[in-house]
Symmetry: C2
Subunit: 265 residues, 2 copies
């Protein structure tokens, strides 16, 4: 099944994607496995929202051997997650807005996203497997100069629109199968391609370790890191595709300076 | 006004605290300034929840000159916020659970918390002032060995129950007044006391700068950092009080090892 969230007449609604149609649902499929259908819209007219707004937004940093080698970083000895922020989420088709004062490289990071379906605490590996509701696609857009200059990742990775996620949650995918590939395209041209499952620690390893100290809740998301990145410029369209899940596509636009902004205090 | 959240017969409800009574409300006072009263309970019987569950949980690190000097850190040149995670929130009166395998110092950090009431983007200082709904009290419980060993703050600061917040949101307080004091007590004994407003950057400075890059939403929280910390041990009761807001009190208990836990993968 593919579950999306769409905006219909200004109202966010959950939906089940069925070919060219989205069946609109009375509630979240994560909370209710058999939600009532309250209408439908053509997929072609959908305004896509992030398919879930998490209680906690977890994100893995270094998790692909080639990325770790490229960053000249040490391979993590245990699964340790960080965080991103909900304000930065945006849906499939919506613009990634490049801030007017960004400097340095402005890059896409194509990522697999696990969406949690059950409460997990002290979970075994099998419980962690059963606890994943489905999978979606994320683009961990990053402003590198800010990432290196700032004390935190607040604006480097969490400025508004820096976290496209979607287009939907696919419940039947097997992202760790050897045939599953993550593909990053800019303006239709392949810029990176790697086996999605070629991770140091897989999503279930993370959930087992995390749940030793914290409770994962239905709707929480865990972004699994990227192997490769590529630069983005205003005017580009960036697509992140994962076999069996879908393709998340977003245009990149440039923000205009806001004239009423004063200097820093 | 003092607005709390309490659990009544298993259901979380918003409430207005009026002396010995809590008037139970039909919805969130942040979204609806005149919510319908649907009942009441005595304050003495309340099971307190975090007074708000934020869309994004922001937290300031180094923000008090004496803390910065103690940490031998550089004074921040601009307001840069980090993040904490909703799973760690707990209410007034609920236990702080010390994980069975924690090592090193286990400490309390007494903090002022701003609760956002309006959508803020490119806010002026005056707009930021008008955008704060009210104030509450937080205890940024921290496991120092994990804080230094781990790549992120995931378990050092975000293990379950590490973020007590409450007991309520006070809308009439002036936390930056020179007479406002933060007091940290363990088992009734004062362990730290400092002027709440003696900050490098005040809450409105943060909101102005943050809103240049991101949208703050009603219900978001911003924890303002601590000047002083103190150690906690199982059996202790830790109280964080801020003049004109309230006293957040939590017992500390020790978690038992979980027998079904296997070794790390």
């Amino acid at each position: 099944m593919r579950y999306a969230r769409v905006r219909v007449q200004g109202v966010p609604l959950h939906g089940r994607v069925e070919g060219d149609t989205i069946a609109l649902l009375a509630g979240s499929p994560i909370e209710n496995p058999a939600p009532t259908v309250i209408g439908s819209i053509p997929t072609a007219h959908a305004i896509w929202l992030p398919p879930v707004v998490p209680h906690v937004f977890y994100a893995v940093g270094l998790n692909y051997p080639r990325h770790i080698a490229h960053a000249a970083a040490e391979t993590p000895k245990r699964p340790e997650a960080g965080y991103r922020a909900n304000n930065a989420l945006t849906g499939h088709g919506s613009p990634i807005v490049r801030p007017h004062d960004v400097t340095g490289r402005f890059e896409a990071e194509p990522e697999l996203v696990a969406v949690i379906g059950r409460t997990l605490r002290h979970a075994s590996y099998d419980e962690a497997r059963a606890g994943v509701f489905g999978w979606t696609v994320g683009n961990d857009v990053s402003a590198r100069a800010w990432q290196h200059e700032d004390r935190t990742l607040w604006r480097a990775k969490n400025s508004d629109t820096f976290k496209p996620m979607g287009p939907w949650i696919e419940t039947a995918a097997d992202p760790l199968a050897p045939t599953t590939t993550t593909t990053l395209r800019v303006n239709g041209e392949v810029r990176a391609e790697f086996p999605t499952g070629d991770m140091v620690f897989d999503p279930y390893d993370y959930l087992v370790e995390m749940s030793r100290y914290l409770t994962l809740h239905p709707g929480d998301v865990l972004w699994m890191g990227a192997e490769s990145v590529c630069g983005l410029a205003p005017g580009d369209t960036v697509d992140v595709g994962i076999t069996g899940i879908g393709v998340l596509s977003n245009p990149v636009i440039q923000a205009e300076p806001v004239s009423q902004e004063g200097p820093l205090p």
